[in-house]
Symmetry: C2
Subunit: 444 residues, 2 copies
């Protein structure tokens, strides 16, 4: 077999890059659990009718078939999930009788979309989602809470500055309604293209597709241009002179989110009337998040409130959630070398071997260090000590242990310092116990 080639859109990490990703995921997990979110994993596949229910992404679903499928088609009705929201809504409906509501869960799994790979967009990518769903009614305070949880989760990660841009569907749709535009869903989808196609093309689409007058299109663009880090946006919207009860509801709800966030996570949330979210299941607050210097990647954490995604006809489970694009954030930072790890293995200590016969004793020594939580491996061979030290050095293993009749010595191969130690008492410096993330060559 010849050397395999990478598959476009399916990025894979080298061991030291994976250490970074693993530590970022650990950090997110810890933050979510501190806020009481329980973990879930849903299966990778969903019935196609679930996947095709909503939204524009449906056309890029990967469909499955068993290689030896029976004539009846067998599994023809299954596809890989393209996000974690649709599977979660299905899970809630399927297991509703065994869940306690309000129900909060986080989920960190790969998703698949068959779209054309480009910077920040992959065919396989990891998402980290949080959602809160309730039975019947979902209090608005959760729309504040999920933003604060994400602020907390992203804090402490060695990332460029991130800012969450928040809008409310009721605000935009109420505004369009108040203007006299009928198809407010379609108007939202058109406004969602603003970053991609620019204001002139958007105005034309509004005129062509939803029968807006030039004045109405202009008002829509004016609304989309409003943003503020505090509740001053309310007056700016009112100054546009449109009135509608749904618009008022949206203004109140968005002001509550921005106000609470300004107090509890200053500088993280901005009200931004340009945010629309293409998926049509959102009904209230919508969120997008941008990373400074990496705006070209698009939103790195998106979501919103959805009132009707999970409903079995008898009961409805409204929810609100946010999804961090773990791959979208990390793959570019790892590929450019901006993030790295201090070493490529978990190993902190290499036990050197004077001759192969001593392997059992070396294993015992290693096991004593492991019992105290110190990652340790034994040298692959009883080569010359210089070669064994080189083995450690190539991998970034900081310490090599030598044992002989006189006792046990540990060498810090970076400084060359070698000291006699008691194996059952020696501790590495805390910063050397596990690999750490470095950003631009600097430890974070």
């Amino acid at each position: 077999m010849s050397r395999p080639q990478p598959l476009s859109g399916f990025p894979e990490l080298l061991p030291r890059q994976r250490i970074v990703e693993q530590q970022v995921v650990d950090h997110l997990r810890r933050a979510f659990e501190l806020h009481g979110f329980a973990n879930l994993q849903t299966r990778a596949v969903e019935p196609m009718d679930q996947l095709l229910r909503k939204g524009e992404t449906s056309k890029e679903v990967y469909v499955l078939r068993r290689l030896q499928a029976d004539a009846d088609g067998g599994d023809a009705g299954l596809g890989l999930h393209f996000d974690l929201t649709v599977p979660f809504a299905r899970y809630v409906l399927e297991h509703a009788g065994k869940l306690n509501f309000p129900f909060r869960r986080y989920q960190i799994q790969p998703c698949w979309r068959g779209e054309r790979p480009q910077d920040g967009r992959y065919r396989e990518f990891m998402q980290a989602d949080i959602d809160i769903v309730d039975l019947g009614e979902l209090p608005a305070h959760y729309e504040v809470e999920v933003a604060l949880v994400i602020a907390d989760a992203l804090r402490g990660l060695p990332l460029p500055r991130v800012t969450m841009h928040v809008n409310n569907r009721k605000l935009s749709q109420g505004f369009y309604q108040g203007l006299g535009i009928r198809d407010t869903d379609e108007a939202l989808r058109i406004i969602d293209k603003l970053d991609k196609i620019g204001p002139d093309a958007v105005a034309k689409l509004l005129i062509d597709e939803v029968d807006a007058t030039p004045e109405q299109a202009d008002a829509c663009l004016k609304l989309a241009s409003i943003s503020a880090a505090d509740t001053s946006f309310v007056d700016e919207v009112r100054a546009l002179g449109v009135s509608d009860p749904l618009l008022e509801e949206g203004l109140t709800e968005l002001a509550a989110v921005v106000d609470a966030a300004a107090k509890e996570a200053p500088g993280f949330v901005v009200a931004d009337m340009r945010i629309a979210r293409g998926l049509d299941y959102y009904t209230g607050t919508v969120y997008e998040t941008f990373m400074e210097g990496y705006e070209r990647l698009g939103s790195v954490c998106s979501g919103g409130r959805y009132d009707k995604l999970a409903s079995d006809g008898k009961h409805t489970y409204p929810g609100v959630g946010l999804s961090i694009g773990v791959s979208r954030i990390l793959v570019p930072l790892l590929q450019s070398g901006r993030l790295d790890a201090t070493r490529e293995v978990p190993t902190c200590v290499l036990v050197a071997l004077a001759n192969e016969d001593e392997r059992p004793e070396a294993n015992t020594l290693a096991q004593r260090l492991r019992r105290r939580g110190i990652p340790t491996q034994v040298s692959p061979s009883a080569a010359k000590f210089g070669k064994q030290i080189k083995f450690a050095d190539k991998r970034g293993i900081p310490f090599v242990l030598f044992a002989n009749e006189e006792g046990t010595q540990i060498k810090d191969i970076r400084s060359g310092d070698q000291v006699t130690v008691d194996v059952d008492a020696w501790e590495p410096p805390a910063e050397d116990l596990h690999p750490r993330i470095t950003a631009d060559g600097t430890d974070e």
Copy 2:
């Protein structure tokens, strides 16, 4: 939409079951990292030519297709991986220039096989693999080491007793060769069916398929009946009177594994000449592991040495690895209720709310507990305190915090004890900080 039905072969866990799975995976990860294994994740898909290279499972591969695939077929050449060994071998070849050998990695990911679901066999299942590969030559001591790492990893989990059964392909194939059987690969595949079809049917197959005489078939069955927890099996095999250089090599290698394991993990490893492993890429030691009382599940941790799986023509990367069937072990234990968690949420403390206006202050209190690592959430509403306590009780949250002008009190809702506390100093008992696994209702 009506209530969705479960998909056969795609088991999903409830939140409290997932907590058990998560803690088991954390335990395995910690053990693997203590032994210096670096984590990898490979993409879920592989080119079909990789997946169809070897082994019997190939026919149950799930093939992918984009719903809107172009006329040219697009992604028609991709399928979901059915194990983690084939993707790892591909990864090693693809990234060889950036890896340091010997290279040890662990990998914990789902795999997919379209086979008929049955007890312990699923269409989607999680595997936890360790492998060590080297460039050109792989020293035999790694065949001992991977068994010891698994012994260490499974130790401390609340599982029924597990025993690893070990054989060596060279031993069996050398024995068949010494007997005069030509197609030793096929003979091994037939012996592998012993548990399924019994000795008479195996003897018949040996006679029909590999032209064995009844005496040769009988000798093969005698060999397969030998097992021992120490090196006494060597004499038992020799007593069968077959001699062959490959058989001698196998005896020596298997004796080394059994001998080292008896010293370092007493009672864990048994030499068992019945073990063959169906996949034909194994070339040395082969392993299967059985769980007491759950033998019907088949092997819960299998693997072996493979010398030719990863080769690009110029270089060969022989390896040895073992794969723990995480789903195969846990799903039956969870479904029967033998394993459970002490609660269904990470939350340790619920902050009660006297009225909705106090939510920001309650958030601040919660945040102070979280900063010290105590998972905390705020009550969903300012309902009567009795109802808020019930909210905690239903989820197993052990503590409820009440704040008023007089100070802050924490109630242990199990005992009813309520004490005044300093929020910045109070610590829950260590066993209440996080959910724990219980086995048969008893904490482990």
